[in-house]
């Protein structure tokens, strides 16, 4: 079953074509990476999937719901995290989680907050203001917010941006465990090639708003005759090398 289906999705701002008629599908329980340089269209695609941005053309279905006409039914079953969208800094961690728990209609909310705090090692910070936390702690709070409603689809925009390698690795390990344990579908936009290689079963390579290649990390490495995805990324970004036919 497909958790996300995107057909001919297009976003145009005046003369600028930010996303150019892309098609893709994400199978339930899969982690798919959106890989591309700055301005490739990753964040724009995620914003359209969330209904935050109205597409110029095309169709999006999430969990069987058409996002143009029935997005609230899908939004209740999905969630999102991005370092570029903050949580209120003057609220404590617990207050922030309470706000989003109520917004998503989470049953037995205090218990859920306790569970997440324990899993994400946030218990000692629950009564601390979000603005007083370190970048790593804030990322864990953002993850707790994104998981408050036990989402079936999780959209992550650069989840480990600005984190030190240790914290970044902690987040990646946690995401792997979470997906394995819940069967959650994850769409991950990232600049971090090692992260995508480790977490994703499929990768969509975006360039100038178009999907220029796709496949599993191993498949891409084989076809581009490279050792790591960073080299594949550079091949595509700089038009250095064409993939060999699959």
């Amino acid at each position: 079953m497909q958790a996300i289906e995107v057909e001919r999705l297009t976003k145009r701002y005046g003369d600028v074509l930010a996303v150019d008629a892309i098609d893709f599908a994400v199978t339930s329980g899969e982690t798919v990476g959106l890989l591309g340089g700055n301005g490739a269209g990753k964040t724009t695609t995620i914003a359209m999937l969330l209904g935050l941005l109205i597409p110029t053309a095309g169709r999006i279905q999430v969990l069987g719901h058409d996002m143009a006409h029935d997005r609230y039914a899908a939004l209740a079953r999905m969630n999102f995290s991005s370092p570029y969208v903050a949580l209120p800094q003057r609220l404590t961690v617990a207050q922030n989680l309470r706000v989003y728990g109520h917004l998503y209609g989470v049953p037995r909310l205090e218990r859920r907050i306790g569970e997440l705090a324990e899993e994400l090692e946030l218990t000692e910070f629950l009564n601390r203001r979000a603005g007083q936390l370190s970048a790593g702690q804030k990322t864990r709070v953002a993850l707790a917010k994104a998981l408050i409603n036990r989402p079936e689809v999780l959209l992550l925009d650069e989840p480990t941006a600005s984190l030190d390698p240790d914290t970044g690795d902690w987040v990646r390990t946690w995401l792997e465990r979470y997906r394995a344990g819940t069967g959650c579908t994850i769409l991950l936009a990232s600049h971090n090639m090692a992260e995508v290689e480790r977490l994703c079963s499929q990768v969509l390579m975006l360039k100038a708003g178009r999907i220029v290649d796709r496949g599993s990390p191993d498949d891409l490495l084989t076809r581009y005759l490279r050792e790591d995805l960073e080299e594949v990324f550079l091949d595509i970004a700089r038009d250095r090398r064409q993939a060999t036919p699959a």
């Binding site: 724009t44 209740a76 999102f80 570029y84 209120p88 003057r90 706000v99 917004l103 917010k145």
Partner: protein
């Protein structure tokens, strides 16, 4: 998941109430301006009353104080909505809110709820100051006061919805309107004088502003002890038209913001 519109509205109100719970300067700010206004205009009214004969002096003073207090209802209601919305913008939280199951009308309902709380927290202390310092009891207007309050609150709300729409359209550049736009309408609202003293062109503007009808009604109660129902009906009808217009504008600007991607960047 058990989601209900009421729970989502409460979520947004809780978010703002939590801000006040931990901050006495924020609480103080709510009452600061209404009480300050009342102190300034209260002494002015006392001075005027002492310089005039008892009857006209009392009437002038009570008209002035009633005007100050009721106009604060509109001002605080408008700021209550606009500032609560801007809190979301300043904290770069709009992106999270609009990808949650919260409907736009639920967000507006939460902003209105916060506006009522903020207005009461600001105006009730000012009413108390008027009573204890200047022996002016606003409640002598009688039950009609509820309808005056309702009209002025609704006017504050649609003005705020217009301001929020402009913020969605123009971003942080339109923020200043939240503090200034209703002050700009004060001359036309006939808060301290009858509409008849205005030049004809200004009277035409005053005629379409609900507050002018409320204040004409207030003066009629204070001076003649009569309720001008026609004025109240006019105020409610105008409020209905303006609210509809502001609602349409808000819905359009929200859609435009979703077309432009402004919900992620508004406030920058």
């Amino acid at each position: 998941m058990i989601g209900s519109p009421l729970r989502r509205v409460w979520a947004m109100m809780y978010r703002h109430l939590a801000l006040y719970r931990g901050s006495w300067p924020r609480l103080l700010e709510l009452a600061y301006w209404p009480v300050l206004q009342m102190l300034i205009w209260g002494f002015t009214a006392s001075f005027i009353a002492r310089r005039m004969s008892a009857g006209p002096g009392m009437l002038a003073a009570s008209t002035l104080l009633g005007g100050v207090l009721l106009w604060e209802v509109a001002l605080r209601s408008q700021m209550g909505v606009a500032i609560s919305f801007m809190e979301e913008m300043w904290s770069r939280n709009l992106g999270h809110i609009f990808v949650s199951p919260l409907r736009p009308w639920e967000l507006v309902a939460a902003l209105l709820g916060m506006s009522v709380i903020r207005m009461l927290a600001g105006v009730l202390p000012a009413i108390a100051v008027a009573y204890f310092l200047y022996a002016f009891n606003l409640f002598t207007l009688g039950p009609i006061l509820v309808l005056f309050f309702a009209n002025l609150m609704i006017m504050g709300w649609w003005v705020a919805l217009g301001v929020v729409s402009l913020i969605l359209r123009h971003g942080a550049g339109a923020e200043a309107l939240a503090w200034s736009v209703l002050f700009g309408l004060t001359p036309f609202a006939a808060v301290f004088y009858p509409v008849s003293v205005l030049p004809h062109a200004m009277q035409a503007v005053a005629f379409v502003i609900p507050a002018s009808h409320v204040f004409e009604g207030m003066r009629a109660v204070l001076s003649d002890g009569v309720v001008r129902w026609g004025q109240l009906v006019a105020a409610f009808a105008l409020n209905a038209v303006w609210t509809l217009a502001a609602g349409v504008l808000f819905a359009r600007q929200l859609r435009q913001a979703r077309l432009r991607g402004a919900l992620l960047s508004v406030g920058e």
